[in-house]
């Protein structure tokens, strides 16, 4: 049975400021959705809140994953259910090798009783190494990645490829990709897009959150949604993405009477920047 991520009338604030103002969306395993919106529309807030970032408080609404209410769950419990977030700004963890980290993470999410308890048993080293090597080969990732410290000194493109490698290893049911194309040159977008395409299939549901449609030329979504001022204002197919490519967000802003000044609020788009080095 396919698993669904169901978001109902979700409202999220950062401090006193409402950011997500009643959002509804359902993503099923095997479906590809694109959630597009300009800076400040609340995209990253939504992505982080769905994964359980403690910075964001959910005011009201409902999020279920496979019928389970996830809003009360810790991020690791959500991961164990099969939810994944590819970060816009992956954090560096100095001294922790990619291989050690992935072995721990894979062991954690593949535990039989996904109840959020401690990871007691690591998957056997030999089997893990084999699997990691295969996935790295499949995604065209250099084997030296395994020995490098997690995201430390990675270029923008390497960070995003590392996120895709983690996605491949953790085999989630639903993956949220937060601005996976941001900060990449056109070649890097192509490499990441092609890697992602390798992973697309009936067992994976994808929610691509993006500002620009360029990643979507590699992974073509069946559903496109436009996020403006904390709400999904339009939903449709590929033609919506094409419209944005041609005309930008202004016609939609005009249609819904939302002024761009309000939206160009950098603090809202990336409220976590202060916490980051």
């Amino acid at each position: 049975m396919s698993t669904e991520l169901v978001i109902k009338d979700l409202r999220i604030s950062v401090g006193e400021k409402p950011i997500i103002k009643g959002l509804n969306l359902t993503v099923k395993q095997g479906e590809i959705h694109a959630l597009m919106g300009p800076n400040g529309s609340g995209k990253s807030t939504l992505a982080n809140a769905l994964m359980g970032h403690p910075f964001y408080s959910v005011d009201s609404g409902e999020v279920t994953f496979g019928g389970v209410d996830v809003l009360e769950l810790e991020p690791n419990e959500r991961a164990r259910l099969g939810l994944f977030l590819a970060f816009q700004y992956p954090t560096a963890i100095p001294g922790v090798s990619m291989a050690n980290f992935l072995r721990m993470a894979v062991s954690a999410v593949r535990t039989e009783n996904s109840n959020g308890s401690e990871t007691t048993e690591l998957i056997p080293m030999r089997a893990f190494r084999r699997e990691l090597r295969e996935k790295m080969k499949q995604l065209g990732v250099d084997e030296s990645f395994a020995r490098r410290y997690l995201n430390e000194g990675f270029s923008g493109g390497e960070k995003k490829r590392a996120e895709v490698l983690q996605l491949a290893m953790l085999e989630p049911k639903i993956a949220i990709l937060d601005e996976t194309d941001s900060g990449l040159d056109i070649d890097a977008v192509r490499i990441v897009g092609e890697s992602l395409n390798q992973l697309i299939g009936p067992d994976l549901g994808v929610l691509i959150i993006t500002h620009y449609p360029r990643l979507l030329t590699y992974i073509r979504p069946q559903f496109v949604h436009i996020l403006l001022d904390g709400r999904i204002v339009e939903s449709g197919g590929w033609e919506l993405a094409e419209l944005l490519e041609k005309k930008g967000y202004d016609p939609i802003r005009e249609k819904y009477g939302i002024s761009p000044e309000v939206l160009a609020d950098d603090d809202v788009e990336d409220p976590l920047s202060a916490l980051r080095r």
């Binding site: 810790e74 164990r80 922790v96 980290f101 721990m104």
Partner: protein, 475 residues
């Protein structure tokens, strides 16, 4: 000279912890000889009689005892008010003779080693191990190869009997009794410890190891180690400590002296995991002569209070001193650890790397000294101190002293304090790790640059100990 102080992140995480000591058991071993509590000349004389020591050592001890009495109490570093010198057994002998083979080691002592979980794989090293039980080495089997190449590896009491010339020549020459109050105490009442001599050009290609334990309530342990590495020789010595926990305070006060002659390479590794009622007050010093490299790797996880600053005196051109220090201070612990490098000759180089972690109200301090003597031109020294503080109750301080009496030098000092970032925790938790697992992973990553320098089995043990500390579930 550069100095940076940054505080990149401000969030804190509260991680539950229990500070119960993991190896908090004690076996019922009957000491063969045990002095009464407290210290006086009668006890020192009694000890010399029991051990049958030569008169020069008796006089050395009695003189050191006078110095100990005259020295004022130590009033810096950590809080020593809980330490009562009159409430300590100064000499306990657990077994009558020094064992030569593993089969001869008494069963209850073997059982204690078993319960310490010394892995089977390490047994192969036992031929090269001097395992200190109570105040005396009870097991000391020397591998034949060591004999063949002329390497001496015995407990220091044996060295006093069998190698009196070497002992007389070097004993107390690096750390005289008057160096500090605890060195004086050790000089008065020392017992056990390791004595190593490596002849010119001999390279010992596996680590010589020793295990240390304290097992009599209120007893002090005052081992004395002397290592002499002759010209062009190499040796790697490893000591790991683990002690049963008792309700009243214990004192561990060792003295370690190392002579690194021309062109030698010496590495001395310590993983200290004393029970958290132990005062661990240790003086460690090495002299490095022409082109010699001396390296201290010093990991402090246990004890109530540790005050330890391994030092390297670079005596001749080309000498190099390196100190890697790891300190982990949890509830009720103060790790006052650090390093000293003294450039006495031109063109000498040194590096100090310190990593400390404080959690659950623990306090870790870096106390270090870089000194360049007049005329020591062209010296280079770098110091890097990283501190990780895991919660708001915990504390970290740095006390660097830099004294330069020469212009033509290159000295760098860098200190950084950080806290576990909420972003790092969230990132790891989003991949399925629990909060404790994520914290432990970040801490292990923090000390990884030092842990990778440890022998494999110690690296594994180190990671495991940190995991246990972080999970807060020990026992």
């Amino acid at each position: 000279m550069t100095q940076h102080m940054t505080q990149p992140e401000t969030e804190t995480v509260d991680i539950g912890v229990s500070s119960d000591y993991k190896y908090g058991f004690h076996d019922d071993i009957k000491p063969v000889f045990k002095s009464r509590k407290g210290l006086d000349t009668e006890i020192i004389n009694q000890m010399c009689d029991v051990k049958g020591e030569p008169d020069w050592m008796r006089q050395y001890r009695l003189k050191a005892y006078e110095i100990f009495k005259q020295k004022p109490d130590v009033n810096w570093g950590g809080d020593l008010s809980g330490l009562d010198f009159d409430d300590i057994y100064y000499y306990v002998k657990a077994s009558d003779r020094t064992e030569r083979s593993w089969d001869d080691v008494p069963d209850d002592i073997k059982r204690t080693f078993d319960r310490l979980g010394i892995p089977e794989a390490e047994r192969k090293f036992l031929a090269g191990v001097g395992a200190q039980y109570d105040s005396e080495v009870v097991y000391h089997s020397l591998q034949e190869e060591l004999d063949k190449v002329g390497v001496i590896f015995v407990d220091t009491d044996t060295a006093l009997r069998e190698y009196p010339d070497l002992m007389k020549e070097y004993f107390g020459t690096l750390i005289p009794s008057a160096d500090n109050k605890f060195a004086a105490l050790n000089s008065a009442i020392w017992s056990g410890g390791s004595f190593i001599y490596v002849p010119p050009g001999v390279k010992v290609d596996y680590p010589l190891q020793a295990y240390f334990r304290i097992n009599t309530e209120n007893m002090g342990q005052f081992e004395r180690t002397l290592i002499i590495v002759d010209e062009g020789a190499e040796v790697n010595y490893v000591e790991g400590c683990t002690a049963p926990s008792y309700s009243s305070a214990s004192l561990h006060s060792a003295v370690v002296e190392i002579v690194c002659k021309k062109g030698s390479r010496v590495r001395y590794t310590t993983i200290q995991n004393w029970a958290n009622n132990v005062y661990n007050l240790v003086t460690k010093r090495a002299f490095a002569y022409e082109d010699a490299h001396m390296e201290w790797i010093d990991g402090n996880l246990g004890s109530k209070l540790t005050m330890k600053y391994p030092s390297v005196y670079m005596m001749e051109p080309g000498a190099r001193g390196e100190i890697l220090s790891i300190a982990f201070a949890s509830k009720g612990q103060h790790q006052d650890a650090g390093a000293k490098v003294i450039h006495c000759a031109p063109h000498t180089t040194s590096r100090i790397t310190s990593k400390s972690i404080s959690k659950d109200g623990g306090r870790s301090s870096y106390r270090g000294e870089v000194r360049v003597m007049k005329g020591a031109k062209g010296c280079k020294s770098t110091v890097q101190c990283d501190a990780l503080i895991l919660d708001e109750k915990s504390r970290s301080d740095t006390y660097p002293v830099i004294q330069i009496d020469e212009n033509d030098v290159n000295i760098g000092h860098e200190a950084r304090v950080s806290k576990i970032g909420e972003e790092q925790l969230f990132y790891l938790m989003s991949r399925g790790l629990s909060e404790d697992e994520a914290s432990a992973m970040i801490v292990n990553g923090f000390i990884e640059p030092l842990v990778k320098e440890l022998p494999m089995e110690y690296a594994v043990e180190m990671n495991r100990l940190i995991q246990l500390q972080m999970e807060g579930s020990v026992g």
